[in-house]
């Protein structure tokens, strides 16, 4: 089984590396967004899949990363690395300060608290235009330049974002496989038992919240460099909802599921645009149907399909 999944992983990686140069620019563009959204969605997925926390506030950290990059590179004119670093540190600190009290809540209340957080932050981003330039936004964010290689085409950016995504996935897989991952699942599935074994639930959840925020911030910085323009419209409630939809559609407990969820949320609306104004309705219906028909997400759906096929093959 282990060798089989390694083989599958290698095949997928080979496709992801080899195919995009032959795809039209518009599709590569969507793939770049899939990678960026996967990174942000991965953070939400870790919270949801490992801690059972529905986070509707990821847009806050996505925005922090994007604004940090914009402010550092445009207003202060320093290197891109400072933007990433500032975003990550700021997001981590804010996640610590906010997460510590808010993560005491559970279930619906926690989800609503994170949603409220997203709305408050969006209103502040809008109001503090001396810092964020409000709805006018920041333009002219420079292209990334890595050791002399300028990342100025969608294809080059795709490889960069893909590499960052792969690193984030690897880090998450490590975390889940570690002692901490075991503690997280114990806490999610049997909170009382975990507590009696001396697991500090609040601190553990805060740590994952900080990690999730850092992923969101990195995704935001990448987004700022890719589009070279950010304004407050990119960080509304809709974005926070999209970041939650990504892991849920894919299957919250599975890491590859997050990538599939992100591909779904970027590619499916695009495919549906041929239906004109109806495409939003169709997207909503698809979302409803997926939640109802595939409770463990697209990955869960695929798994049960393959079980069904194997069972049929044997019979």
């Amino acid at each position: 089984m282990a060798t089989r999944s390694i083989v599958i992983l290698v095949i997928i990686a080979a496709i992801a590396l080899a195919v995009p140069p032959f795809l039209p620019r518009s599709v590569v563009d969507l793939l770049v967004f899939s990678c960026i959204y996967s990174i942000a969605g991965l953070g939400v997925g870790l919270l949801l899949g490992q801690c059972g926390i529905a986070n509707l506030g990821q847009s806050v950290f996505y925005a922090l990363g994007a604004y940090a990059t914009a402010y550092m590179t445009v207003t202060l004119g320093v290197g891109a690395a400072w933007g990433f670093l500032t975003g990550v540190i700021l997001s981590g600190l804010i996640a610590l300060v906010i997460g510590w009290p808010v993560l005491r809540l559970t279930g619906h209340f926690l989800a609503l608290a994170t949603l409220a957080l997203g709305i408050v932050a969006n209103a502040l981003f809008y109001e503090w235009d001396w810092l964020t330039h409000g709805s006018l936004g920041f333009g002219g964010i420079p292209k990334l330049n890595i050791f002399g290689l300028v990342i100025d085409t969608p294809l080059r950016f795709y490889y960069l974002a893909g590499a960052v995504l792969a690193l984030c996935l690897l880090a998450s897989a490590n975390l889940i496989g570690s002692r901490t991952g075991l503690m997280l699942r114990a806490m999610r599935d049997a909170p009382e038992a975990a507590k009696s074994l001396g697991i500090n639930a609040q601190w553990l959840r805060t740590r994952i919240f900080i990690l999730s925020a850092i992923f969101g911030s990195i995704a935001g910085s990448l987004f700022a460099h890719y589009g070279s323009f950010v304004n407050v419209q990119s960080f509304g409630i809709e974005k926070a909802i999209a970041f939650l939809i990504i892991p849920v559609l894919g299957g919250a407990t599975s890491l590859p599921g997050v990538v599939i969820g992100a591909l779904f949320t970027t590619l499916v609306p695009e495919m549906l645009t041929r239906f004109g104004d109806l495409h939003q309705v169709l997207f909503g219906l698809t979302l409803m149907a997926t939640v109802v028909l595939m409770p463990s997400g697209l990955m869960g759906g695929l798994a049960s399909l393959s079980r069904y096929m194997t069972a049929r093959g044997r019979a």
Binding site: L105, F109, A111, L124, E127, I245, Q280, M288, P295
Partner: protein, 295 residues
């Protein structure tokens, strides 16, 4: 003049607060009867208001008939959502966040459908009554605002009576609190949940019809209404109509004061920061234990 400013702003705070409470009633009803955080409650209001607008303005039905059909459409939508979708989720023993995500999906779908069928622009319904204007403490009061206040208060007491005194209301609560126990004593738990959604749909539609002479209905009002309604309901302890009114009034008046003292932009910042703080420090809501148990 100063008195006029203060009373005008308090009055608009009270009116807005009761609007939030009206949306909060449906959220509280569905949470009480199904333990589901219903993120699509605002869309019930949008559907109710759009149906009434089409019947009244475009077909030319009398107001009362259009309003009744509007409420029935909310009820039908609630029943449909429960019978077709929620039943399956319950049968799968889906986790809490599935319901949350499902209602988000419904909310996206309805909002997009309204955009598709009804267009981008907002529509206002005519106010109830003759559109007369009263002057109270130097503030201008429209007759419709008085109807809204009156109907909200009546609904609040009616819901309170329904849950406390009628067998059906108590059955609906019991089916949600202890489904197995309720089933043992012969309560049809599934039917009670469907009725809960019907009630939520009707309350949502009523709210929509009452709100729309003040706030134009369009595809994008659903989610903001839901959020404010949720804030009102949570402040009140989430299951209690009396609490939703108290919560709505607190938010409405607070917003009015913020708008008067600071700037309208900080309205949502103050409301939603307050919501987070209340959830952390007063998890039972403003009315505390008694408020949550009663109602």
């Amino acid at each position: 003049m100063l008195l006029g400013l203060v009373s005008q702003s308090l009055l608009s705070g009270v009116t807005n607060g009761l609007i939030y409470a009206l949306v909060g009633f449906g959220i509280a009803a569905i949470f009480r009867g199904a333990h589901i955080a219903n993120v699509m409650q605002g869309e019930f209001s949008v559907v109710g208001a759009v149906v009434v607008d089409v019947l009244l303005v475009q077909i030319g039905m009398p107001y009362w008939a259009a309003a009744i059909i509007g409420c029935l459409s909310g009820a039908a939508l609630g029943a449909l959502i429960d019978v077709v979708f929620i039943r399956r989720l319950v049968a799968q023993k889906a986790p809490d966040d599935s319901y949350l995500l499902f209602t988000i999906g419904v909310s996206i779908t309805i909002s997009a459908a309204v955009l598709f069928l009804f267009g981008r622009e907002g529509h206002l319904l005519p106010p109830i009554g003759s559109g007369q204007i009263f002057i109270v403490l130097d503030a201008v009061v429209q007759e419709h605002a008085l109807w809204l206040i009156g109907i909200s208060v009546i609904l609040m007491f009616a819901l309170r009576y329904f849950y406390r005194r009628t067998t059906l209301g108590m059955r609906m609560s019991a089916a949600a609190i202890d489904p197995d126990g309720a089933a043992t004593i012969g309560i049809d738990v599934r039917a009670m949940r469907t009725l809960t959604f019907v009630l939520g749909g009707v309350l949502g539609a009523i709210a929509g019809i009452l709100i729309t002479p003040i706030i134009p209905v369009s595809y994008m009002v659903g989610l903001p209404l839901t959020l404010k309604g949720f804030s009102a309901a949570i402040l009140g302890g989430l299951t209690n109509p009396l609490g939703a009114v108290a919560g709505g009034l607190v938010i409405g008046v607070l917003e009015a004061l913020v708008v008067m003292q600071m700037s309208s932009a900080y309205k949502d910042v103050v409301t939603f920061s307050g919501l987070i703080l209340i959830m952390i420090f007063m998890p039972r809501g403003l009315l505390g234990r008694a408020g949550r148990a009663g109602g």
